[in-house]
Amino acid sequence: MIGDVLGSILMAIGAMLMVVSALGVLRFPGPVARLHAATKAASAGLALVCLGAGLALGGPALPLMVLVALFQLLTAPIAGHLLGRAAHDADDGAAGRLVRDDLGDLPRPSAPGPSGEAAPFPWGSWLLLTVAWTMLWGDLSVGTVLGGAAASVVVVAVVRPGERRIGVRPLGLVRLLGTFTTALVRGTIDVAAEVLTRDDSGIRQAIVRVAVPGMSREALVVTALAVTLTPGSLAVEIDVAEECLFVHVLHYDEDATDDDIRLIAERARDALGTRVSRA
């Protein structure tokens, strides 16, 4: 019963977020600005609808829907980042819309190889695959888990993910999630208000170069994903060698923008220092 009520509320909020997102895609000026509306509000909307449906249906549907929601929140920033750089490069009108453009015509940075030594067996990937398998089946029986573990060994052997040893700090991770959730909620409300009131005066698009020194490659990527999932900012380019991110922002503010992004970056660095960088 509680599940039904909570599920309905989540589904209703999610559906409304999707309408807001669709209006934003129709109204925002330029492809990258539209991407802002599509990647965040719609993904958050789908995640909420999925969780709501999982709660309302119960049983094996719940873990399956949690899996879909997590998958969406992980893939949306990746797709947004890729499409963001491509759309910016292909957009002839970009210069006229941006108040500041640090990226300009810079060529794509080369991606250096991963840091640290390769793990002998990618336990992390194997564990994630096994958990995903179990959630897809929605059933925690010995047979399912063992079947998933066996299938994951095959996948890991074929794909050979180049997993590196990453040191995760639990407390740092919690703080990263906290910062991130706050930014997500605040930004979503801002964008929704903008779309609904049809007030474009607050939109000042810019691409800002944010230096994030002292980060491992992995922490830099996590930072880029968190920044992209945060409404109002989208990491269009990651330069590992120069230790900086190029972030497209919807509401450029000379004083605040850099600090906001750097805060997320610092939290990511606290959460994911690699063993190599800590030594």
Binding site: S8, A15, V19, V25, A61, L83
Partner: protein, 86 residues
């Protein structure tokens, strides 16, 4: 009752996204709107499964969200490749 209303709201979102697909001025903007349409479709399937009380529908949703991601990545690469040729 609420489930029906949610489905109606999602239909509106889908209709707006469809307008976005048709009126998009560039390939990138069309892809953005199309991706959004797929996400709305996925959400619609979830709500429909609740309405009909049929969890079996949900596996379709898994496929749709996978296809939406792969499709977006592929189109992003196509747009990039086109830029390089020019």
């Amino acid at each position: 009752m609420i489930t029906e209303i949610v489905l109606a709201v999602l239909t509106i979102a889908g209709a707006i996204a469809l307008v976005g697909v048709v009126r998009a001025p560039s390939a990138a903007e069309r892809m953005i709107a199309l991706d959004l349409l797929l996400l709305v479709l996925a959400a619609g399937i979830a709500v429909w499964a609740v309405l009909e009380q049929r969890p079996a529908f949900l596996i379709v949703l898994v496929v749709v969200s996978l296809v939406a991601f792969v499709g977006t990545v592929v189109v992003a690469r196509v747009i990039e490749a086109r830029e390089e040729i020019q």
